[in-house]
Symmetry: C2
Subunit: 341 residues, 2 copies
Amino acid sequence: MKNYILLNENAIYYECGFSCDNAIFLKLGNESFFITDARYTIEAKEYAKNSIVIESSDFISDTQELLKKSKIKKIVFDPNDFKLAFYQKLTNNLKINFVPKENFSKLKRIIKSDEEIKLLKKAAKIGKEGFKELAKYIRKNGFEENENFLHFKAIEKMSNTGNYDLSFDPIVAINENAAKPHALPTKKKLKLNDLLLVDAGVKYKRYCSDRTCTSHVDFEKFSFKREQKFKNKKHQKIYDLVYKAQLTAINKAKVGMKASVIDKIARDVIEKAGYGKYFVHSTGHGVGLDIHEFPNINSKSDVIIENNMVFTVEPGIYLPNEFGVRIEDTIVMKNDKAIIL
Amino acid sequence: MKNYILLNENAIYYECGFSCDNAIFLKLGNESFFITDARYTIEAKEYAKNSIVIESSDFISDTQELLKKSKIKKIVFDPNDFKLAFYQKLTNNLKINFVPKENFSKLKRIIKSDEEIKLLKKAAKIGKEGFKELAKYIRKNGFEENENFLHFKAIEKMSNTGNYDLSFDPIVAINENAAKPHALPTKKKLKLNDLLLVDAGVKYKRYCSDRTCTSHVDFEKFSFKREQKFKNKKHQKIYDLVYKAQLTAINKAKVGMKASVIDKIARDVIEKAGYGKYFVHSTGHGVGLDIHEFPNINSKSDVIIENNMVFTVEPGIYLPNEFGVRIEDTIVMKNDKAIIL
């Protein structure tokens, strides 16, 4: 792939170590161009490696100009990143073949470098600190606070009061609300012996962490640790089952396996116990600059697992109108095995 | 426009009073269809007015099916809301003419109903309360706090600790950082006699508020009121000039004017004082379900101003490496005049 055009912020960052919310990256043979507006050119010139920075107030015509000058005949692009209106304006009157390749940047990024893994580890560490601080807050002040408020506190603690960006909007859900995999916070209040699910992550130098904890609510001993003692026996049973599914998948994941096999290992544990139909999503997804990358860990994924892949293992059981349990860690494949980051 | 297809969340909400992050809305003659996945169908059936809710695990083929059955020959869509990959899959093998109309939902929404204006007023009121609470915090605890932290506190106070969604990520910028119209927060600390710019808004029932205040920093008397006394004379001079530009534009804005005339009124005040080249953006933008709607208030906008239009008036002067001032209010055109919400 000698020639390609990128619009996605993380795809651009991966190429040159800099990005911003209004840029086009062009790779034309050996030359790279970073096209942006006047707000970002100073920083782009300083940080965008090996790239010629073009200040532009008309991205379409400046990009067309560069493409024409380059004399290339074809160029790769990701049709998921291009709005139709933009694509039509850009390709209008150009005699260049635009070759669609869906997810081609994410596919490039499926194996992480050691440097990237260091950043992902650091993000995971900061994320764990955030969970600890949130647990401390809940022990002190969580009683009778509602999900909206706790959701806000999750943002505060995970971001270290604004010092880190979050990987995504956290999920904070109590009991039956946790039965929705993508629950939005409500006015429901936290009470003794509730079940609380928190799914949250932070970014360190743009690399994401991702972790989900499901916990028993006890205002003296509340924690996000993996060992949880629930008052409610059904909570405990489902929790233990999800935890077993997760540990089994992590322990058995090996380099050379198909991703679908890891999904099957987790799913089998839950299916054998009779809860298969309540595990309504895939077992995991890659994590990197984007919170959702490759490999997908689902029943259809033929990707062969390799060292330096980073992905989540996050089985869950969702009992509608009762409660839900999800346990998620992000792992890296190292020395042929899965290690929790 | 008898037939149209919508993907944008706010465009869909405007049609039927409900929306979610994964839906397609189809208007086919007299019938409306709300296509979504299993997570949202219960709420869609309850809240999506006059719409037939279709639960779908394959949006493309279910939408194609509905289109084929309807026997329509053409359908309007907004090419800015369609990714190329999605558009190509959806239109593949369909004998229906997809007619592109950029911004056609936003154009429909340019004149607000009285009901919408009530919601926008309420959003503005909640936003002002947020600014007041933030000012109170700064008086008590702002000294030597950095922009990252104050940015987080702006989110906390504007959202009423998680009770309201924000219209956008707030801008919190001190002195030379305020010279960037879209400044990101840094570790720069707030000190006595600094200039602080805060641009923030909240949503009430999905309708946005938008306001920018520039203030003199005094830890006893700090406020976001429009009357500001700066220690630094240049701060004061530029502030007074921007404020004059804003008030002149608001006072002179009349129904029947072109939007570009309002832009010119504000710009003339600043140009006459010799700072025209430092007013680097347009004078305003419409506000509604989206934070940026029509009418645009810029030098090229031929839109005729009408009653019940809602837009910002926000001139600014940005002196690179020194400081920036922007003063923004959202106004509604009522009885032929502009009233601050």
